[in-house]
Symmetry: none
Subunit: 417 residues, 2 copies
């Protein structure tokens, strides 16, 4: 197994004003060819710290990347650290300077002399071509260990990683990493774990990660194998088993999104859906229309935020609003009926709840939401209790509503979900 350590250099990374996405990119690229990152370190533009990080890394890893701290305005701290570490001077490459000068000339810019240091590199460095910029990549060898050095500009880092580093490392590894994701909603992480973890016990080589968000949990399966096809078959099998075990919770895998899955189910049968939203304020319609081609199955959305608009646009009777309140099963049933009568949709979604943070009462606390889905005379209406955060409540309501519609569509047309 080849282990990597990724070092990111830059004051702006340490202060947190720039988020380090470079090392995530490198780690993913490495993992896809079976090289695993075991440590990541971030240090500032500081000679001692760069040298210290490099020494620690050489004690632990086979492949080391250093990213950042190159380029005309960075004082070339990274090159200085490498010269110090290897106890060498720099070498001047006139052909690199000339190429740079020509590029500036072609664009009609004057050539700032500060660029001269872009043509100087530590004596023992082997250079790697940078197709996206002027700072060249570098390779250093220490016995069997390899150090790859790149500028921190993401575009340049990506060019050097994919065009120069990966081809060199690929024939040093045989492992390949295969990944699959299962997307769920409406089931808490711990309950999900209890219900499905024994499925994974049959495949102990598969790494399982639960990635929870308030809108749902994604389960990520990873398997490293020399034979990519067999790894793929093992993971597909697990995805299928989990999906069959939890048909109400699992809405998709891979690149599936819940609005996309619902859209496919509707499109397949030439059906249309209309929305009648109160507490989500248009979010459900917006999620449906995030999907390209959604105009095939979505034509109308009502955002009825006030009681009198539930009356005028959807025909909810005033006495229902008065006696049961806007957040009630009865109101939802009238919203569904109204949306179906006043549009040509086959299915409707209706939601009404108390998004918060204000507006709750002891009987109807913040986070209480009623959600209904259905077709003419055939509604499924459920009560949910979400949390205190307004925007999170909107998002959880929208996900629950779309999932309720997905389950209903699957029941109506497959007989079981």
């Amino acid at each position: 197994m080849i282990y990597a350590e990724l070092i990111s250099i830059g004051d702006e990374l340490l202060s947190g004003l720039t988020i380090d996405t470079n090392s995530a990119f490198i780690a993913q690229q490495f993992e896809s060819i079976g090289i695993f990152s075991r440590w990541k370190t971030t240090v500032g533009d500081d000679l001692d710290d760069i040298c210290g990080a490099l020494e620690s890394a050489l004690a632990r890893a086979d492949v080391i990347t250093l990213t950042g701290g190159l380029g005309p305005t960075h004082d070339d701290m990274t090159k200085k650290a490498l010269c110090r570490h290897f106890n060498v001077g720099t070498k001047f490459y006139p052909e690199i300077l000339e190429k740079m000068r020509l590029r500036f000339e072609r664009r009609g810019y004057p050539f700032p002399i500060i660029n001269r240091n872009q043509a100087e590199y530590p004596e023992v460095a082997e250079l790697m071509h940078n197709s996206a910029g002027s700072a060249q990549g570098m390779i250093f060898k220490v016995g069997e260990k390899q150090i790859f050095v790149m500028p921190g500009v993401p575009r340049e880092m990506k060019a050097i990683t994919t065009e120069e580093i990966l081809p060199r490392l690929m024939n040093q590894t045989s492992h390949r990493m295969v990944r699959m994701e299962i997307h769920t909603t409406g089931v808490p992480e711990s309950q999900l774990f209890e219900q499905i973890h024994e499925i994974f016990e049959a495949e102990p080589a598969v790494r399982v990660a639960y990635l929870p968000k308030h809108t749902g949990v994604t389960i990520r399966l990873s398997l490293a194998d020399e034979a990519e096809a067999s790894a793929r078959a093992i993971l597909s099998n697990l995805v299928e088993k989990v999906t069959r075990r939890m048909p109400e919770g699992v809405f998709g895998s891979g690149n599936d999104t819940l609005p996309g899955v619902v859209g496919e189910l509707l499109k397949l049968r030439h059906l249309k859906v209309a929305t009648a939203e109160s507490c989500t304020g248009g979010l459900i319609a917006s999620m449906i229309t995030d999907v390209s081609g959604s105009s095939d199955y979505f034509e109308t959305g009502f955002v009825t935020y006030a009681d009198k608009v539930k009356q005028s646009l959807l025909g909810v009777p005033p006495d229902v609003l008065k006696n049961e309140g806007a957040v009630s099963e009865a109101t939802i049933r009238h919203m569904l009926a109204g949306a179906l009568e006043r549009t040509s949709a086959d299915y409707a979604i209706a939601v009404s709840g108390i998004a918060g943070p204000t507006g709750g009462t002891p009987e109807k606390p913040v986070g209480l939401v009623w959600i209904g889905v259905g077709r003419k005379d055939d509604f499924v209406v459920k009560r949910y209790q979400f949390g205190r955060d307004r925007v999170m409540n909107k998002e959880m309501t929208a996900m629950a509503a779309l999932n309720q519609l997905r389950i209903k569509l699957q029941q109506d047309f497959v007989g079981c979900i």
Copy 2:
């Protein structure tokens, strides 16, 4: 000077599938109270590596944060590592378990026993309250040095950092970093720079960063000073100058959001707005209703995604749709008029465009959007050309529409914006 080292724990961070935004947040918060992060380290859910990282950090830093590796399905590697490092066992807190059980009960979920480990903590740990989840924060002291431990879920990490850690550290430092942000929309970064950069030349100690997103550019000003009040005065003055120079582009500062600013303008004058959306599919209504209290000024949203619904719900004449098309100034004017006639709103927003990626023609390419705002017989309708990405087009349209309404409201009631 107090130095910090930030340790992030998690296999998913090492593999690069999750990007570490937590340590950026912590670093920024620390910097605001004069604590500087000198190293960041990321290790996996591995006992040896967590212990190794902690030992290195204790040799270098005064304040150490450990984030991640807590929670029911993470094997509690972080707690195990701390028990090993301090050579102690765990202590069980029955009151924490009971609180958790009650929360599950309230939501009507069964209580999985796997959660029991959320009530066990290393004997020498002082606990910190987690207002956003069940895994408590922990503090360990090693002489003068302090170790703060938090779960990796960003919401929980943020709650513990701001509510527990910062108040404890604040009285140990004297430097204060004051930051202010100016939010703009609709002006490209380079144009913004050209128009305002000379304003900042008078205050060379202020660091200026331009943070561009597709929905707008935020300008962040930072100034470190022992006298917080004088730093605050300098930055406030700059914010005011920039706002006055670019009243159409600058919509707010600090925690202002565009829907929030628009909401304030409406509420102040007891006005109501209605939305009539085509290409944004409900996003504008959803953004308006993200603001708590929006029911004071928002009652009705129409999502008219199909031509015939623009006709039936808003009264756009069929011949206008046929001759001018749904994406046209004429259609927008009828959508505005319809929304105002059919609701009790004082102002309306209407948008229609080609979100893409399909549906474009040479005359009406993907990204073409018409946006109108106004009150009875007084409309401002403009044409925009955005890009090729569907979701980005929706977001840019929604921001442009809300900004157009903000400018109109300011013109109508202040005389000038």
